[in-house]
């Protein structure tokens, strides 16, 4: 099956998410997992979505791939565009053709994402045959090439092994091979290295970087690891309680944070490259339950800058200098000053 022309506009942004809301009705009220999120990504770009557990970062990615069932989920507003074509208003059948072909995803835990009863090679070949009209032999050969390309030694042997025979790093490579099977334009990487050791993480990130250079793939990197983000992202969206609270280039986010939450995150980190003599500066309290998000700015109960202005209304993203650097914080000026004055002892 070959994807025919379904009206994709080459001049539109590669992938765009516009005012997306994903809500879940539960006994304890409506859980607003994603509550008005917008972003876009171009080819060859790496955009990070950073946030803590429960900030809505994974749900937004899963919605793009149609992995969120409705019901229970509702989508009060929002749309997702691939080259100008709405994914959410597209018939299921057409969506399926795009999933795994134009947009692919790699998950945090490759052991649960791979089917334990099928050979790794067959799973990759199936992915090829789902989207391309080729024979089993050709698909299998393609799977072999892909395993080689993602750096799996002895691909001919590995092809006929089951996921449990692979180590964690090898499984993640196999999953990347599967995601790349149809040359996707966008790769959604949801915590791709969180379950791996750092030396293996370095291998996987180097692999993703190389593949991106070769194919000009756009990568949406969903993670909580600010180190991985600093070394790999071009732009960053910081999420808190279902919303993007700050967005900018990697340098802007790290060197000119304008949202109190971004500032708090950066200040709380321990550094490996120098001995910090002073105590760490944690953010007090804990992330809110998404069924019961605080009034106004969701971060205000934990924030060091809070005034009564913070509870009056939900702050919107506003330009804070720089090209496209935006923050939803009424105290962005005070955050800027505090960041300049912070104590750092390298």
């Amino acid at each position: 099956m070959v994807v025919e022309d379904i009206g994709l506009d080459a001049s539109a942004p590669l992938l765009e998410v516009r005012d997306l809301r994903v809500h879940f009705k539960t006994d304890r009220g409506t859980v607003k997992a994603v509550d008005g999120v917008s972003w876009s990504i171009s080819e060859g770009e790496t955009m990070a979505i950073v946030g803590e557990s429960g900030s809505g970062k994974s749900v937004s990615a899963m919605t793009i791939l149609g992995l969120i069932q409705s019901p229970p989920a509702t989508f009060p507003t929002g749309d997702i565009f691939l080259r100008g074509r709405s994914l959410m208003r597209m018939p299921e059948k057409q969506q399926r053709r795009l999933r795994g072909k134009e947009i692919a995803m790699i998950f945090q835990d490759p052991l649960t994402a791979l089917n334990p009863v099928f050979k790794v090679g067959d799973q990759i070949a199936e992915m090829v045959r789902n989207h391309q009209d080729v024979s089993k032999t050709v698909a299998k050969r393609r799977a072999l090439d892909l395993l080689g390309e993602v750096g799996i030694p002895n691909p001919a042997v590995r092809l006929n092994q089951y996921p449990h025979e692979f180590s964690g790093g090898m499984r993640q490579r196999a999953m990347i091979a599967m995601a790349l099977a149809n040359d996707p334009q966008v790769l959604l990487a949801d915590e791709p290295t969180t379950a791996l050791d750092v030396t293996v993480q370095a291998q996987i990130m180097a692999l993703l970087t190389k593949l991106q250079e070769d194919r000009n793939t756009a990568i949406v990197l969903i993670t909580h690891d600010l180190g991985v983000v600093a070394s790999h992202a071009d732009r960053i969206n910081v999420m808190y309680a279902g919303r993007i609270v700050e967005s900018g280039t990697t340098d802007e986010i790290f060197y000119q944070p304008r949202h109190a939450y971004t500032f708090g995150l950066l200040s709380s980190l321990a550094r490996m490259d120098f001995s910090r003599q002073e105590r760490l500066l944690p953010i007090k309290g804990q992330p809110p339950s998404l069924a019961n998000v605080p009034k106004g700015c969701a971060f205000h109960p934990r924030c060091a800058f809070t005034t009564e202005k913070c509870t009056a209304a939900i702050p919107v993203l506003e330009p804070v200098g720089g090209d496209g650097h935006v923050a939803a914080c009424v105290h962005s000026d005070r955050v800027a000053i505090a960041y300049e004055e912070r104590v750092v002892t390298p």
């Binding site: 030396t199 790290f254 980190l269 550094r271 490996m272 944690p282």
Partner: protein, 355 residues
Amino acid sequence: MTEQGAVSPGAVGTLSGNGTPMLEVRNLVKHFPIRSGIFIKRVIGHVKAVDDISLTIHKGQTVALVGESGCGKSTTARAILRLVEPTSGTVNLDGLEVTKLGKEKLRRARRDMQIIFQDPYASLNPRMTIRQILSEKYQLLGSEVTKSTISDLLDTVGLADEYADRYPHEFSGGQRQRIGIARAIALNPKFVVLDEPVSALDVSIQAQIVNLLEDLQDELGLTYLFIAHDLSVVRHISDIVAVMYLGQIVEIASRDDLFDRPYHPYTQALISAVPIPDPKVERLRETIVLRGDVPNPANPPSGCRFRTRCWKFEQLSESERQVCIEEPPPLNLVPGATTHRSACHYAAVREVVRA
């Protein structure tokens, strides 16, 4: 936190030293038998999870044990506490030979040595209230619970008294970890193993727990063995860092020596692989990408166990490699050092933190 100067010479790996040793581990070995067969289970080999580890931790110090999953760091900690029975070797806690204790004496000694687990979800009984979980500790080890005991304890770890009658599921991850910490420090232990205590927590919560652990160490004079794979937290909290690979310590040094002047190629690769949350620093850094995975600990490579993945080994000539293949490298002092040890035939310093 102990200052740099307080790390005495001899604190590392040897018996001499100025401070008072709280924990002395000598030649600790833990081999797990591999059995095969249906009716008659024959032992066909051993997983050498911990293979001859020696370690000294002085009073009030924090020693970190780092390495990848499967390197034996958690098994080492469990063998020290005798949560798994060591195959051989001795553990001495404040003058008491833990490895020689009988069942009853060991139970009493547990008062002094505690552990905080990685997963606060799995390590608390969901059917017991926090008060029951904490009171059980006192009852088991024969201590009295007065009216204020539990509230005082909760206060110490930064939890309000009213939480005492709730169940674990009502708490967030960070709060549960505080409960795990409360349980560990309840009976004023001397020595606490922290087994990845912040790995399961959100970034903004990690700093809270790290600070709490440091405060408790200062207030109660605790000695910590910190098991971790997150090197940033290790650099912040530790006095001494030991790097493990396949059941053995390959490098041990004070934390600044280890991070700023690592000698072992594995330590160098490990540090270089940790991304630093600073884009400008990251752009200048070079990551040493190791090939392949950790070998099977049931059948480790001959000679130096790291050689199959070693970037330095790859650069050596055929004749230079012989020693790596044939001889296990001893954990020797590096040139000019009094405490810094490294187990590599070709050990040489390489800057990896910022270059």
